[in-house]
Symmetry: C2
Subunit: 399 residues, 2 copies
């Protein structure tokens, strides 16, 4: 009775593996500020609940494998805001962005094929790529440079004859790094030159601050046959538990291949698609208040972080994460201290240690990611707790 | 820009690939009796809708990767009916039985490893196994024998040093074949002798007719470390569109490995889990009326089939499918005729051709699967249409 090599090579999610310790602390009455996971506290739009409560069929039947046509059409309409003209079956509805990513990797990667990913990366990319027996080829980025990766020479340095894709999250998770139009052009030209697919995970598309334009790789005509866009209702509409996402691609041959796997898994949940349809139909200005709120939280969080002596980070331009360097040697060890020992007024804080976000051994040990998904006061308090926790950690003799 | 070998090797779902032709006929006003897909017409239990409509959280948040604890616990309680004592984390909640199968294959199969599957099989097994770069090793079964496969010599004939699992659907899809306690013992001993995992897809567990006992491979203590049970709300509770299933296994090491992938995809939909919890808590006798109804439909369907000259099948003992041989050379060709040409009172019928249910080339061309998921009158009419369609097909010069 063997277990597969691929799953043995996988790591436990560095975002979720500390949950049992957090649960134990909470069971003991400790309040934890959860800056570790991208679970927004913004209310899910009322149209979602209304759509689901209005569903009146007696049999909850299978949907088609493409997803509900009305949801596909709502997504086609949504992308018109970005001057993209999609057809219905350019959009495959998936079980969250996660399934769209899994389907993309399974449909492109042969065992041993390589995917270029900027590190630190959203850690589950490693799991998805390993599930397809692929290999992550990291482009290392640096806190001091704001984790910028759209640099031709650095991309060229990691491409090989096994490279099949470059995988982008823009705006970025975990760094909050956001691409300019010029950056996107660098990546587009690189992909064309080496005949690569571009996997563009744009689930944070609207989370672009300081007046930055919202963009999509789908807006660049000369790469539209090689761009696979990942979208999701989770973050934009604060509906993470709906698990509705999609894959968008104008390459019909590719979509026909992906659809073979999609037929195998039958369909995604009907009710959640009904709710998602209502959310994709929300007007563009629905997001203005949400964006202003997140921008404020980012500013508060960034200022609070900068007050902690020895923290290194640039102000991120998008998404709702900040990755930074701390003045400690090992942020996993610090997190264990925070969860198991440190208390301030019976409160502590949780973040995601960044070592698991790097493929290169040894990197990221002194970095962490926080998600600014709590209100500004809670963010300030959470980061204050981090600062106090670091002080206590060092006072206890740790480095 | 390459597409992976694994997805190119996959077939289009033989159950779903004829849907566009059916949709065209329906758009032209033709009534089609859909005997092609396992979508029951039984109403989803009211407790499902009530639970969802009673959900009153403002933020639809991520659930934990194991699933909602209350759903895990409801499933633990459900399995007590079969004298099985599970712990909460012996149960991983999945996006339908489909995801549970995908996770199981990814967690066991290395590229080139073999899985023993009785053919004809539920066709999506091939897709799931190919997604893990595994190989289906078929045990061929025969209409004349009621598609029986628990025969030691035939299992021994296909086992090699690359065999890692035997994959069972009991009661069976597409054949309706159901294992006796003795049959299960044959499979258990075979798996022990060759050190194989047993993947036991038991989503039709309650659909056991003629007074047959409902069983589970989880009831055999000496194989409990190697049995992986797949369960789902889709069929039992007529809630296919909820996409809630689970993997049940008492092997902690295995579940810890599977959980790495489960963490990567984060979680399954919260609302559907809330509804599923209510359904798993329904009393055991909830299913009595449903079972009586399906048993009646089976009898009506079987009698109607036997009236068509040249049909070969045994009366199936479980699930809600009948697979049989027709007196035509090619049931895909016949289906195209039924969808595109044949009409009787502006009605026609659709089934699943069985060739795609076989791994052995050339087999199954003259077989089909029907699902008796419509009421008895509609089943009788659908099968009458099949008989008339065969007559018209032959009269038009087809063999």
């Amino acid at each position: 009775m063997r277990i597969s090599d691929r799953v043995q090579a996988m790591q436990n999610s560095p975002i979720r593996k500390f949950n049992p310790m957090a649960e134990a602390a909470e069971a003991a009455g400790v309040k934890i500020y959860h800056l570790n996971i991208g679970q927004p506290d913004i209310e899910t739009p009322s149209v979602f609940w209304e759509a689901i409560k209005g569903f009146d069929q007696k049999v909850l039947a299978y949907a088609g494998s493409w997803g509900l046509p009305e949801l596909q059409d709502a997504i086609v309409d949504y992308f018109k805001r970005f001057d993209m003209n999609l057809e219905r079956n350019d959009v495959l509805i998936t079980a969250g962005g996660s399934e769209a990513l899994t389907l993309a990797f399974l449909s492109i990667i042969n065992p041993g094929d390589e995917v270029i990913v900027a590190e630190p990366y959203y850690t589950n990319y490693l799991t998805f790529i390993q599930a397809a027996d692929g290999v992550v080829k990291p482009v290392t980025t640096y806190a001091e440079e704001g984790y910028k990766y759209a640099i031709k020479e650095r991309l060229e340095a990691v491409v090989t004859d096994k490279t099949k894709m470059i995988s982008i999250v823009n705006p970025g998770n975990p760094t909050g790094c956001i691409l300019s139009r010029e950056d996107m052009r660098v990546i587009a030209d690189f992909a064309k030159e080496h005949d690569l697919w571009i996997l563009a995970d744009e689930v944070y598309r609207e989370f672009a601050y300081d007046g930055r334009e919202m963009t999509s790789f789908g807006q660049i005509p000369d790469i539209e046959d090689r761009v696979i866009i990942i979208d999701s209702v989770s973050k934009r509409f604060s509906a993470c538990g709906a698990r509705i996402g999609c894959m968008v691609c104008k390459n019909k041959e590719f979509m026909a291949e992906v659809f073979k796997i999609a037929m195998g898994r039958l369909c995604v949940p009907t009710l959640d698609m009904v709710g998602a349809t209502a959310m994709y139909k929300l007007p563009a200005d629905f997001f203005n208040d949400v964006k202003a709120e997140y921008e404020h939280r980012r500013d508060v969080s960034y200022e609070a972080l900068k007050k902690i002596p020895g923290v290194v980070c640039e102000k991120p331009g998008g998404a709702f994460y900040i990755t930074c360097k701390l003045p400690v040697e090992n942020t996993e060890d610090l997190l264990l201290f925070l969860l198991n020992e440190f208390r301030d007024n019976n409160e502590t804080v949780m973040y995601a240690p960044a070592e698991g976000f790097y493929a290169t051994p040894g990197l990221g040990k002194n970095e962490l990611r926080i998600a600014y998904i709590l209100n500004a006061d809670d963010m300030a308090r959470g980061i204050e707790l981090l600062g106090k926790g670091i002080e206590a950690y060092k006072a206890a003799g740790n480095k």
